[in-house]
C-alpha cells in the first residue's frame, strides 16, 4: 500500500494540476511543492520501514514457482534512499521555481511533479519493462522541461538535441530488453537472473546486456554518450538543472548496476575482472574528459554541466569496482555532490537572475557586492574537490579504500584526486572572477558569440538590486546539508548494509521470488583514514593552484599543442544532433564489441 502511494501521490497530483490548469490561469501555488513534499515524506517512511528488501506485488499477482507474471516494486535501501534524495531535490527545485520560472499556467508544475514521480518509480521498480516505462516518462518530461523557455533559441535546440539523442538511446535499451526476453521469457529482474544463471553465457546475452547498458549510459552521460548533456543542462531552467544534474544522470548509473546485479549477477559470475576493467576504464575516461572540458568553459551553467559529467565518471568508477564498499562509497558521494551541485546552481541563478548574464567574461566582478555568496560558491567548489568533513569527502574516501583493496586499481585514488581538483579549480576560478573581479577579464570565448546577447534563458524579473533571499537561503541550506551528510552518525553502517543488499544477487532473488529472507553480509566501512585525508588535501591544494593559475591567465600560455587539442575537443561538441547520434552509434558498437570480446 505504502509503496504504491509513493508513486501514486505525485502522479495523481500532477494529473490534477494539469486538469486544473485551464481554470486557474496565472495561479501558482504551493500545491506542487506539497505534492512532492508528500512524496518525499512517504519515501522517507518507506526507507525507514525497509529492512533489507520490501517487495510489493501489485493486485496480488504473486509469483508461482519461479514464474512472475505480476509486476513488482522491489525496494532496497539504495533504491529507496535514491528515491528519497530525488524527492528532496524535487522540493528544493519547486521552491526555487516559484521565483525562477515565469510560468503562466500550472502545466510547468504538473510536469515537474510528473518528472519527480517517474524518477521515484524508476528507483523502486523490480521489473525491467516497468523501468523502461518510467524511464521514458521521466525522459519525455525532461525534454519538455529543458525546452520550457521555448521562445529562446538555446533551450529549444538543447531540448531537441536532448530528445533525439536520448530517444535513440532508449530504442537501444528496448531492443536489449527484447533480446533478453527472447532469452529468458521474463521481465522481472529476479526471474531473469534465475533464468540466466543456469544457461550458457552466449553472445545473445552479452549483446542484450551491452544494448541495455548503452541506453542507460546515454542518460548518465558517460563518454562518448555525454555530448547532449552539456547543451541541455546549460539551458534548462535552474530548478530543472538541479534535478537533472543531481539525480537524473545518476539514475542512469543506478539502473545499469541494478540490472547488472539482479539480472546478470549469476550469468557473469566469475567475469568480474573483465567487467570491472570495462566500467572503471569508461568511468576514468569520462572523469578526465568532463574535468578537462569543465576547465575550458566560461559559461557558468555549462561548466556545472561538465562538472556533472566528470562526477558521473567518478561514480561509475566507484560502482564499477563491483564491490559492496565501492557501491556504498558511490551512493554517499552521489548525495553529497548532488546537494553541493544544487547549491551551486542556485548561487549561479542568484547572479543570473540579477544580471541576466551567465558567462565569466560578462559577469566579471559584477557580483562583488555579493561576496558572502562568493564565499559560499568557493566553499561549494572546494566541496567538489572533497574538502573534509563533507559528504563528498566521505564518499570519495570510501571509494578509495574499496579501490585499494583490489589489485591493479591502486591508481584510482590518484585519478579521483586529479579529476576533483581540476573541476574544483575551474569553479574556484569562476567564483574569483565573478564574485571578486580578480585577474584579467576572461578572454572572449569563440564559442560564446551572442550567447549573452539574446540566447540566454532570461531568468531576470524586474532587475532587483539585491540578492533574492528566496534563492540564496536554499543554497546555503543545501551547502549545510552537504556538510551534515559527511558527519551523519550511523550513515556508514546503514549505507554499507544497503549496498550489500544491492549487490547480493541471490538474496534479492530469494526475497522477490520466494518471499524468503536471506541474511546479507554487510562490509565494515572504516572512517576515512589518514591516506584519505592526504588525498583530499592534495585535491584541495590542486584546486586552489588550478584556480589561481586560471585567474593569472596561465591558460593562454600553454604550449600550442595543448591548446590545439583543447580546441579540437571543444569542436567535437558541435551542438548538432546528427553528430551526437553518430558518436552514440560508434560508442555503442565499441562497447558491444569490447564486452563481447572480454565476456565470451
Amino acid at each position: 500500500m505504502l509503496t504504491s502511494l509513493v508513486v501514486l501521490v505525485p502522479i495523481l497530483s500532477a494529473t490534477a494540476l494539469a486538469a486544473a490548469s485551464p481554470f486557474l490561469p496565472g495561479r501558482r501555488g504551493i500545491s506542487a511543492v506539497a505534492a512532492v513534499a508528500g512524496c518525499a515524506g512517504l519515501t522517507a517512511i518507506l526507507l525507514a520501514r525497509t529492512g533489507t528488501y520490501t517487495v510489493t506485488w501489485f493486485a496480488g499477482w504473486h509469483p508461482r514457482g519461479d514464474a512472475a507474471i505480476g509486476i513488482a516494486f522491489a525496494v532496497d535501501g539504495i533504491g529507496a534512499g535514491l528515491a528519497l534524495f530525488v524527492g528532496a531535490l524535487g522540493v528544493v527545485a519547486l521552491v526555487l521555481s516559484a521565483r525562477l520560472v515565469q510560468a503562466e499556467t500550472l502545466l510547468f508544475d504538473a510536469l515537474a511533479v510528473l518528472f519527480v514521480a517517474a524518477m521515484v518509480g524508476f528507483c523502486l521498480s523490480g521489473d525491467i519493462f516497468n523501468m523502461f516505462v518510467f524511464f521514458e516518462l521521466m525522459s519525455v518530461s525532461a525534454y519538455i522541461l529543458v525546452g520550457y523557455e521555448v521562445r529562446q533559441r538555446a533551450p529549444l535546440e538543447g531540448s531537441l538535441t536532448f530528445a533525439v539523442t536520448n530517444t535513440v538511446g532508449s530504442i537501444l535499451l528496448l531492443f536489449g530488453i527484447g533480446l533478453l526476453y527472447n532469452k529468458t521469457g521474463a521481465l522481472n529482474l529476479a526471474q531473469i537472473g534465475r533464468a540466466l544463471e543456469h544457461g550458457p553465457l552466449d553472445l545473445g546475452v552479452v549483446v542484450a546486456f551491452a544494448l541495455i547498458t548503452v541506453g542507460l549510459l546515454v542518460k548518465a552521460g558517460v563518454v562518448p554518450f555525454h555530448l547532449w548533456m552539456a547543451d541541455a543542462y546549460a539551458v534548462a531552467p535552474t530548478p530543472i538543472c538541479i534535478l537533472l544534474a543531481g539525480a537524473f544522470s545518476e539514475l542512469g548509473l543506478y539502473a545499469v548496476f541494478r540490472i547488472l546485479w539482479t539480472a546478470f549477477g549469476g550469468a557473469f559470475a566469475g567475469q568480474e575482472d573483465a567487467l570491472r576493467a570495462v566500467f572503471v576504464g569508461a568511468g576514468a575516461l569520462t572523469g578526465v574528459v568532463g574535468a578537462a572540458m569543465c576547465l575550458l568553459q566560461h559559461h557558468l551553467k555549462r561548466m556545472l554541466a561538465f562538472a556533472t559529467i566528470a562526477q558521473v565518471g567518478m561514480f561509475l568508477v566507484g560502482l564499477g569496482l563491483l564491490t559492496a564498499d565501492g557501491t556504498a562509497g558511490a551512493a554517499v558521494w552521489v548525495v553529497g555532490d548532488g546537494l553541493v551541485k544544487a547549491a551551486l546552481f542556485a548561487l549561479v541563478a542568484v547572479v543570473q537572475h540579477r544580471e541576466g548574464k551567465v558567462t565569466e567574461a560578462a559577469l566579471h566582478g559584477r557580483a562583488r557586492d555579493l561576496w558572502p555568496l562568493g564565499l559560499a560558491f568557493a566553499f561549494g567548489a572546494l566541496t567538489i574537490a572533497s574538502v573534509p568533513p563533507t559528504g563528498s569527502f566521505l564518499g570519495r574516501s570510501i571509494v578509495e579504500d574499496a579501490a585499494l583493496k583490489l589489485d591493479g586499481y591502486r591508481w584510482v585514488p590518484a585519478l579521483l584526486a586529479v579529476v576533483t581538483a581540476v573541476v574544483g579549480g575551474a569553479l574556484l576560478r569562476a567564483a574569483a572572477r565573478v564574485f571578486a573581479g580578480w585577474g584579467q577579464r576572461a578572454p572572449d570565448d569563440p564559442y560564446a558569440e551572442d550567447r549573452d546577447a539574446q540566447d540566454e534563458p532570461d531568468e531576470r524579473d524586474g532587475g532587483a538590486d539585491r540578492a533574492d533571499p528566496f534563492l540564496w537561503v536554499p543554497a546555503v541550506l543545501l551547502l549545510g546539508a552537504a556538510v551534515v551528510w559527511g558527519v551523519l552518525p550511523g550513515l556508514r553502517d546503514s549505507v554499507a548494509g544497503a549496498a550489500a543488499a544491492f549487490v547480493d544477487t541471490d538474496a534479492y532473488a530469494a526475497a522477490v521470488l520466494d518471499g524468503a529472507h536471506h541474511a546479507v553480509h554487510a562490509p565494515t566501512i572504516h572512517p576515512p583514514s589518514i591516506t584519505g585525508y592526504l588525498y583530499a588535501a592534495g585535491s584541495v591544494a590542486g584546486a586552489l593552484a588550478i584556480g589561481a593559475a586560471g585567474i593569472a591567465g596561465l591558460g593562454g600560455r600553454l604550449p600550442r599543442a595543448v591548446r590545439a587539442t583543447a580546441d579540437g575537443a571543444r569542436a567535437l561538441h558541435s551542438g548538432r544532433p546528427t553528430d551526437y547520434v553518430a558518436w552514440l552509434a560508434a560508442g555503442a558498437t565499441a562497447l558491444t564489441g569490447v564486452l563481447a570480446l572480454v565476456l565470451t
Binding site: 521514458e136 521562445r151 535546440e157 530517444t167 530504442i171 552539456a230 550567447r451 548538432r576 546528427t578 553518430a582
Partner: protein, 114 residues
C-alpha cells in the same frame, strides 16, 4: 529468423538515416523507422514456429491451445504509445525551430557548442 534480420536492418538503416539527415522532419521519421525495429523484434520474439500460434484470445479457444506470446504484444502496444508521444514532441519542437529560426537543417543548429 528473417524477422530478426529485418529488426536489425531497421535499427541500422534508421540510425544511418538520422546521422546523415539534412532535414529535421526527415530526422524524426528516421527515428520512427529505428523505433519500428523494436516492434518487429518484440513481435518476432512472441511468434510460434510454423505459424502454429493462434491469437491469444481464449474466448473461443480451449485452454492449452498454443498461442503467440501475449506479453510481447502488450509491450509493443505500450511501446507504440510511448514512442508516439516522443515523435509528437519532436515534431512540435521541429515546428518551433522552423517558425522561429527559419531552418529545418539539423546541421544549422548549434547555438550551444564547444
Amino acid at each position: 529468423m528473417l524477422a530478426y534480420v529485418v529488426a536489425v536492418w531497421l535499427l541500422v538503416v534508421g540510425i544511418v538515416g538520422i546521422v546523415t539527415s539534412r532535414h529535421l522532419v526527415h530526422l524524426v521519421l528516421c527515428i520512427t523507422v529505428t523505433q519500428s525495429s523494436t516492434y518487429v523484434l518484440l513481435l518476432a520474439v512472441g511468434f510460434r514456429e510454423n505459424g502454429t500460434g493462434r491469437a491469444p484470445i481464449f474466448a473461443d479457444l480451449p485452454p492449452g491451445t498454443p498461442v503467440v506470446d501475449p506479453i510481447v504484444q502488450a509491450l509493443t502496444l505500450t511501446d507504440v504509445v510511448v514512442e508516439a508521444t516522443v515523435t509528437a514532441l519532436l515534431l512540435a519542437l521541429t515546428v518551433q525551430v522552423a517558425k522561429r529560426f527559419g531552418t529545418v537543417d539539423p546541421d544549422e543548429l548549434g547555438a550551444l557548442r564547444g
